[in-house]
Structure formats: structure tokens, C-alpha cells
């Protein structure tokens, strides 16, 4: 198998698995109304009156991912959460990618001194962990104050998506601008400028074809980054869409999320890790799997980029074929013509 088919196979397998997860989640929600199966008590097969266990159940053959404390099957909860987690991560990355693309290309084209200054200013993003910027910016928005939220859930979700996209954009923009700068330094760009090509022409005809594949490598990495930031935030107690905190002194539940999705499940059940490990590990495994698949896509793209346009032919083959050609064409006197000087 050639490297090209291998890379294409890797990309298609990984991306179709992610799509399958997304579609499965949507189908489950819309055609089965998202009703999560429940098992509260298990009875013995031979003796129906004998109770052999009660919730939460650890993973078994009948219940592959176990149940949570209320007896809900974890697998269906994870499936239902997939659409939100994946959808949000994709939305954040598309937004931040657009920001980064516009600013990165503009920065790559400009040659002024101010560009050096802005780029160095943005380098500070490399030395502050992105999750902590996100935490500090989103804490007033997502942590329920004593008086209750003044914003609605949709407002919070939209704001969170925009803010996270803004936080992810600067490092990507720096990356795209340095890629652009590298391509613009090539010889063929110089000749295009000499021949009178405008900036937009260079961008559309010369830069974009070279940049396209690199952008496809960068995009899955941004999706991974946004998934990780959402997960980190819920470890720190900020669930996606807001953290519901109860301030009554009596009979209070621990802070809980408004929306069912992987990251909030991971953050919420981390405390249970050493008692009911499966409740935590289910969503965590799915998140890890998604991240692995995404980096598989990115790896496949890298493989496509590496392929050299010149095919290397084995030297023995070359020799054989040239010998054959010699045999096939017995040269005659007619093949040689005199060169007349005019």
C-alpha cells in the first residue's frame, strides 16, 4: 500500500468514526426521544425474589458501561452528551479558526514594524496556560452567584463559545502567519510580484493552494485544544453552560451542570473516582478516544503533505527499460540529419 492510500485510509476511518458518534447521538435523541434506560435493582435469574444487587452497577455484560447512582445507564448518557460536546468543540474551533485565518494571513502579508510588535505582544499567550485565562474570564459568567443567574442558558452558551474561540485564536494566528511568511519567501512568489501580480492574486492563486493542506492539519488540533479546555474548566468546577450551585444550608447537592455533556460528567464525577470509578471513566474514555481519532486525522493530513511529487523509480527498472528501448529502436542512417548553418 502506498503512503497516499494509507494516509487517506487513516483520515477516512478516523473521521467516519467521529461522524458515527455524532450521528448516533443525534439519532438517539430524536428518534428515541433521548429516554435513558434505567436499572434500579437486579434480580437473580433462577430466583426472581432474590435481589443480587442495586444501583450503581459496575460495568457488566448486560450493562456495558455500568450505571450511575440513579440507575441510569452510562452508555446512553454518554451517547446523548456526544452531540453537545463534539458540536460545541467544532463550533468553537471553526470560529477561532476564522479569526486566526483572517488575522494570520493579514499579519503574514504585512511587513511593517508594528507587525513585529503585535506578534511579540501575542507571544505572551504562550506563557500563560490557556485554560487559566478561560477560567478567570468565564468564572463570573458561569459560576452561579448567590442571587441566581441574571443571564439565560442560551446567552451563557453563546458567550462561552465566543470567549473560548477568542482565547484559542492568538496562538493559531501566530502559526498561520509564520506559515504564510514562509511561503511568501519562496522564489515563485518573487517572480509573481515582478510580473505584476497583486496581493489578492498572490493570496488566491499561490498562497491558498500551498496553505490549504497545512490548514487541514491545524484544524483538528484546534478541535482537540478546545475539547481539552472545556474538560479543564469542568475540572476546575466551571461546567459548560454554567454551574448550578445551591446556597441553602440544608440538604444541598454538590454543584452540578445544567447540560449533560462529557466534560461536565468528567468534572462532576472526579470526586467519585475511587468509589464508583466507572461513572467517571466512561465519559473520560470517550473523550480520550475522540481526541485520539482527531489526532489520527491530523496525522493522516501530515502524511498527505509529506508525499513528494517526484516518483522514485528503482534503478534496476530504469536500466532495464532503457536497454529495451535501445533494442526496440535500431537506429538507421535516416535518424540522423545534417545540421545546416544558415
Amino acid at each position: 500500500m502506498s503512503k497516499k492510500t494509507k494516509s487517506i485510509l487513516l483520515i477516512s476511518i478516523c473521521s467516519s468514526l467521529i461522524l458515527l458518534l455524532l450521528i448516533g447521538s443525534l439519532v438517539f435523541t430524536f428518534s428515541f426521544n433521548g429516554e435513558i434506560p434505567k436499572t434500579n435493582i437486579l434480580y437473580d435469574k433462577d430466583d426472581p425474589d432474590q435481589i443480587i444487587g442495586s444501583m450503581p452497577f459496575p460495568p457488566s455484560l448486560q450493562i456495558p458501561f455500568g450505571t450511575d447512582r440513579d440507575g441510569n445507564h452510562m452508555f446512553y448518557r454518554i451517547l446523548e452528551g456526544a452531540q453537545i460536546t463534539l458540536g460545541v468543540a467544532l463550533l468553537i474551533s471553526v470560529l477561532s479558526f476564522l479569526f486566526a485565518f483572517v488575522f494570520g494571513i493579514l499579519a503574514g502579508f504585512s511587513k511593517s514594524k508594528s507587525k513585529y510588535i503585535t506578534q511579540t505582544l501575542f507571544t505572551s499567550f504562550y506563557f500563560i496556560p490557556q485554560s487559566i485565562i478561560a477560567y478567570n474570564m468565564l468564572h463570573p459568567l458561569l459560576w452561579e452567584p448567590y442571587e441566581g443567574f441574571t443571564t439565560t442558558l442560551t446567552e451563557r452558551i453563546l458567550l462561552q463559545i465566543i470567549i473560548l474561540a477568542g482565547i484559542l485564536a492568538p496562538t493559531t494566528a501566530i502559526l498561520i502567519s509564520s506559515e504564510t511568511k514562509q511561503i511568501l519567501q519562496k522564489d515563485f512568489i518573487t517572480s509573481t510580484i515582478i510580473l505584476g501580480g497583486g496581493k489578492f492574486y498572490i493570496f488566491y492563486k499561490h498562497l491558498l493552494p500551498h496553505l490549504k493542506l497545512r490548514l487541514f492539519i491545524i484544524f483538528p488540533k484546534i478541535v482537540i485544544q478546545s475539547l481539552l479546555i472545556i474538560a479543564h474548566l469542568s475540572y476546575f468546577g466551571l461546567y459548560f453552560g454554567g454551574t448550578d450551585i445551591c446556597y441553602d444550608d440544608l440538604l444541598c447537592d454538590p454543584p452540578k451542570p445544567f447540560i449533560e455533556e462529557w466534560a461536565s460528567m468528567i468534572g462532576m464525577y472526579y470526586a467519585d473516582l475511587h468509589i464508583y470509578w466507572w461513572i467517571f471513566l466512561g465519559p473520560m474514555l470517550f473523550l480520550t478516544l475522540t481526541i485520539l481519532l482527531l489526532s489520527g486525522v491530523s496525522k493522516g493530513m501530515e502524511g498527505l503533505l509529506d508525499i513528494k511529487p517526484i516518483k522514485h523509480v528503482k534503478s534496476s527498472k530504469v536500466l532495464n527499460s532503457s536497454k529495451k528501448e535501445q533494442k526496440a529502436s535500431n537506429l538507421t542512417k535516416k535518424d540522423f540529419g545534417l545540421v545546416h548553418r544558415s
Binding site: 505582544l121 505572551s124 506563557f127 496556560p129 463570573p140 479543564h232
Partner: protein, 289 residues
């Protein structure tokens, strides 16, 4: 030399201004007041706070005790620095020994090593941390031996375990990076010359190729610090280590946030720049870290 130092100083000041701008923006979100006037005011307040850092106070979020920031942050700072640099050294050491193993492996083994390395290097940090914790508890339940304390308490500082966990991802990152650099180097003319001279395989690897590999590795320095810092943050939070990252959370003021970020940034930046300077002296071409 003088030109390099002045340029570095200029860059450093610019990045510090960048950090102040970031924390000013964060302070706007915390006050829920998005006017330019507040932005300017906050910027001035934070800058004056940084110029005289000995007056800053830190309020412990649990006990509400007010202390001066400065001696206490340095304790946390050194424990974080220990974890960070220990992890860096461990990961460099392990990845170098792995590259030697890889170099001597057969072609088929190389392929599978690469695949495993790729999978481990793309695992998320939180997954690794949790898996180690689960493993330690499971091991304790099975055998009664506690391999290590994985939650720090007041009088018990743990350094080695967080460092080992922090080193896992950089190790595999270094490893896969080194493999790709090694491949590029193998095709170079100087390697062919050395081979044709009859030099031994390992002599070429250690004496001739290794320095080029290490130099190429430092060009990714910024990226490495970036993801190691973000891993350190989660690690210290989950292991309950009293490290410098606990000063970054929003129950502190934005001035403390800025001071902590600058403390994190300055030594790392200076190390990167020193490496850049020594290497550009040696190989004669400019590296941009």
C-alpha cells in the same frame, strides 16, 4: 552581543506588556464592566502594582488570612520549578535513551514503536493523571504497598511523582520530534560521508547527528513550554500541590495573576534566549525561538 541583548530586553518588555494586557482584559470580565476607561484604569493599577510588588497582599481562600505575597509565593514558585525542570530533565533523558533503542531496532519494530509513541503522545493530560491515580489505588488494594502519596498535604511535599507524570507527554513529544529530525538528518551529505569513511553507526549517531538533533529540538522550545505549563496547572490542581499555579485562580486579584505569570515567563524566556544565542554562535545561522 550587545545588539542581541538589547533586542532580547525589548522583546521581554513587550511580552510583559502583553501579559499585563491579558490580565487587564480578564479584570474587565471579572468586573463585568467593558469600557475603555476601566481598561485604562486597570492597566495603570496593575502596572503600578508590579513596579512595587512588595506591597501586594495575598488572601488565603480557605482561611481568609491576609499575608504579604512575596515570601510566600517564592516557596510555591520553587516547588513548581522543581517539578517543571525535573520533568524536563527526565523526559529529555528518557526520550534520548528511547531514540538510541529506536536507532538500533529493526525496520518493523521501528514502525510499531512509532505507532505506540504517536498514540501515547496524543493522549490528553487529564487522562494520564487519572490513570496513574487509579493504578496506584488499585496497586495499593492488591498488595498493600502505597507506591507514592498522590495527594499532597500540609507538611508533605511531593515532587517526584508529579514530575514523572508531567514528563510523560513531553517525553513522547520529544521522541516523535526526534524521529522526524533523525530521518531528515540520515539523508544529509555529512552522514553519507561519515558512513563512507567507515565510521561506526553509533559514533555517527552520538557524535555527529546528536548535536544537530538537539539544536533542531530547541526550535520547538516555545511550544514545549506552552503545553508543559498548561499540564502543570492541571497537575498541581489535581494533586493538590501548593504550587505557583494556585496563585493564578480568580479568587486572587489580577495583580497577583500578572506577577505570577511574569514569574513563570521570565526564567523560561531567558533560558530559551540563552540557548538561541549559544546555538547561533555555534552554527552561525539565526534561530528564532
Amino acid at each position: 552581543m550587545v545588539r542581541f541583548v538589547s533586542k532580547t530586553m525589548f522583546e521581554m518588555i513587550l511580552i510583559i506588556i502583553g501579559i499585563i494586557l491579558v490580565s487587564t482584559t480578564i479584570s474587565l470580565f471579572q468586573m463585568k464592566d467593558f469600557s475603555l476607561l476601566t481598561f485604562g484604569n486597570n492597566f495603570v493599577t496593575i502596572t503600578t502594582d508590579i513596579i512595587s510588588p512588595q506591597n501586594l497582599v495575598y488572601i488565603n481562600p480557605i482561611s481568609d488570612v491576609e499575608r504579604n505575597l512575596f515570601p510566600i509565593i517564592l516557596n510555591a514558585y520553587f516547588s513548581s520549578a522543581q517539578i517543571f525542570f525535573l520533568a524536563l530533565i527526565i523526559s529529555l533523558f528518557i526520550s534520548l535513551s528511547m531514540i538510541v533503542l529506536y536507532f538500533s531496532a529493526s525496520h518493523r519494530l521501528k514502525k510499531s514503536i512509532e505507532r505506540i509513541g504517536f498514540i501515547i503522545s496524543s493522549l490528553p493530560d487529564i487522562f494520564l493523571i487519572v490513570i496513574t491515580q487509579i493504578f496506584v489505588v488499585w496497586f495499593f488494594k492488591q498488595t498493600g504497598i502505597l507506591v507514592f502519596d498522590f495527594v499532597a498535604t500540609m507538611d508533605n511535599h511531593i515532587v517526584l511523582v508529579p514530575a514523572i507524570i508531567l514528563s510523560v507527554l513531553p517525553t513522547f513529544f520529544f521522541f516523535s520530534l526526534m524521529i522526524s529530525i533523525l530521518r531528515e538528518e540520515e539523508g544529509m551529505a555529512y552522514v553519507e560521508l561519515a558512513k563512507s569513511k567507515g565510521l561506526k553507526k553509533y559514533r555517527i549517531l552520538f557524535i555527529h547527528m546528536m548535536r544537530n538533533i538537539l539544536i533542531s529540538l530547541t526550535t520547538h522550545g516555545k511550544h514545549i513550554t506552552w503545553f508543559m505549563l498548561s499540564n502543570l496547572l492541571v497537575l498541581e490542581y489535581l494533586f493538590n500541590v501548593f504550587g505557583v499555579t494556585s496563585f493564578l485562580f480568580s479568587y486572587n486579584t489580577s495583580s497577583i495573576f500578572t506577577v505570577t505569570c511574569i514569574l513563570l515567563f521570565v526564567p523560561l524566556f531567558l533560558i530559551l534566549k540563552t540557548l538561541q544565542f549559544t546555538f547561533s554562535q555555534k552554527i552561525g545561522s539565526e534561530l528564532n525561538l
